[in-house]
Amino acid sequence: MSKTIDELLPRILPRVQKPARYVGGEYNQTVKALREIDTRVAFCFPDTYEIGMSNLGLRILYGVVNNMDGVWCERVFTPWGDMEAEMRAAGLPLYALESHDPVADFDMIAFSVGYEMSYTNILTMLDLAGIPLRAAERHGLHNIVFAGGACTYNPEPLAEFIDFFSLGEGEESTVEIVNCWRDAKKRDLSKEEFLWEVGKIPGVYVPSHYEHRYNPDGTLAAIVPLPGAPAKVTKRIVQDLDKAYYPVEPIVQSTEIVHDRQNLEVMRGCIRGCRFCQAGYTYRPVRPRKPETLYNQALQSLASSGDSEITLSSLSTSDYKYLEPLTDRLTEYCAARNVNISVPSLRADNFSRDLMLKLQKVRKSGLTFAPEAGTQRLRDAINKNVTEEDVLKTCEIAFAGGWNNVKLYFMLGLPTETDEDVLGIAELVYKIYNCWKDHASNKKRGVRIHVATAFFVPKPFTGFQWERQITPEEYLRRCRLLKEHMNNKSIEYSYHEAKLSELEAVLARGDRRLGPVIEAAWRRGAKLDGWMEYFDYEKWIAALEECGVDRHFYTTRGFGTDELLPWETIDPGVSKAFLLRERERAGRSEITPDCRHGCAGCGANRLLECGRCDP
């Protein structure tokens, strides 16, 4: 343990909010003796403890790396603003939770990046650790910084700061990467030599091995790999999820986190193919876990954590093939022990209705739908195959069964959206309200219908990756239009911050010219941008101006289908040809059936050794 840090902490912690976030020591954390290890990995999550500890990827990779002999992986999160200020005032460097040792002492520093608006937190963490921000300013094998996570399929905005990226699922590749570093250390390689070695590992992208050239109009002219660098880097996947590591002895958070429950990942990938959804495309191919595997993992992780709730998670859990046998067995176990089972992302179909009633046995939770769009035409265009009939039928049963709380999620600014589509949302909401009036078992308690709209952000590797984003002003006009048409005290309407989504769009489809913008915004004080307490649009606008970058180039302009896209070095499995086909079908409001009703040929099955998805 670091003596200085442990002397400073008791003086600082009484003054900060939720100090339990900063001390570690949780049940099931991994502690190793320094004399038994040769490699130290700091697993950094660029957001708060509450968010990071809710991340399954972090928990998996923490376990995977700590299962390696001689390697100790520890956790690091972004301190909240009050703690950051105290740390800077006291000269306390960023430290890892397990050992309280400074992050600067670690051999490898890994970032798991799930969200564009956490980019500045990476810089905050490197800076608090006393590590140079830019990859080119870090020399030697010490403090190698790499990153992965859902948001790194377009790694270019971070290219300047990160030595290399690990794309796709990290269960196997992270072990290979750490071993590659150990080997480099043994052979006393230079950092440059190591980067060439690690770049040979499938799924590893070394940005400094590629040159990006631009046209006079600002579009990308060419991506030129250095001799020896692969033209394409294909993301990694786990072939057999039943054999993959799963954290059955999970770290038990010592303070409440966002997902304060066990998380059982029933499958990876999604059969649906909603055209706006990056995860829906990039998590493919679809691979379910066996119900026996899941049942055992559930029992072990519940027993080891003592949690009283378990979530069956995936992008669309009602599409998990063996949901019924799994929930049957689990409800039996859980009901006897007062453990609640929750199933998020249920679809509004027949089976889900039955399941909803079954799960109610332990606890009655709210009803949530994400129709995403207000009219069938637009739902078809985005390939969100939910019908009004399904939604109303489910509501009818729920209201009759005593539910009186419904949450509805929509997006505004979707491609091809008109005012008619916006007003369609209000219409659907009123139909639900009338459904409650007709079917509620007890009208005295009233009904709460929460409607939330998000501002559509076009993301790389989706059918909408070329689309324009509407302006924040236009988005807010549509919000107001919708609000004017939902005047009912039972209906509560909230909408996402427009400016945040605009910047998210800039960063999501950003190229290497965004690196200096991120740094300039951070130098101006931008931090914790995903949090409304801290988000400051003006700092970002000033940073864009300072760097001569026009945000509209990445938002309202739209990208040409013949344009070279910054993220084209990366192959996430789904092919560009497929994404183009999806875009064309969207224009015709034509749906693509889900994977089980005919393969749409997305290309992700190429990643499977057996060549067959969804076994």
Binding site: P10, G25, A89, A90, V252, G306, S308
Partner: protein, 262 residues
Amino acid sequence: MRMLFTKEGVAIWSSHLDLMRALMRSFRRAGIELKHSQGFTPHPELSILMPLSVGVESQCEIAEFALAEGCEIPAEEIAARLNPVLPAGIRALESWEGGQKAGKLAWLRARLTLRYQGTGNREPGTGDGEADSSAPLRSPFDFAQGKAENDRIEAIRALFGRPSLIVEKHGKKGVVETDIAPMIRELVVKGTGNGEPGTGDAADSAAGENAVVLEAVVAAQNPTLNPLLLATAIERYLPEYKPALVQCRRLEIYDADMRPFR
């Protein structure tokens, strides 16, 4: 049923609600099924007698709980079953059936360690990166420093000899001026480095450092005196002796007859 337990080390930074959640999880891990309330969202029946402020240590916390029907574990075994699965800093000392009525709780013995600057410890805000600043600096003016320390101890002793001590108490009704003197039953002021046997708590690391230790028995109920208010009194009446850091540890709780409350 009741259980006596400690809250030390990293666990002191957990809030009361965090501790409740941690104990509930620990019971589940130990395979001890708690009785659950009826209703819409059943809750396990578990409570902690005197909620502890964040940052305060204790060796005398009491939790009260009921086992589920059919869970036939003798009360005395609960502590031993919990210990292997409790988080760091929480240790079950003993468990028993029944217990005194909560209303009988009357007094709390607590220790306050007041730490002062100039011990060689780097203070927040002086991050000047001196070489090995963590090593205790030996002042060349040991004698002068010793005198200053004695003056401080005397001043603090004299302060708590006063018949009335008004401090601001921040409660649900806002800030209230309260006289804490009548709520102090006993109070001893000591310097440190007196070679007391170590108990592994925060006061030990104060040995040889620039610190003052207060040990007091204060009202635990009707009204309650948070021992940290003793430090507040020093800040108010003796601002020149305002400590840089206050560490607090609950040592024991008693009934009106000064018998340990259980």
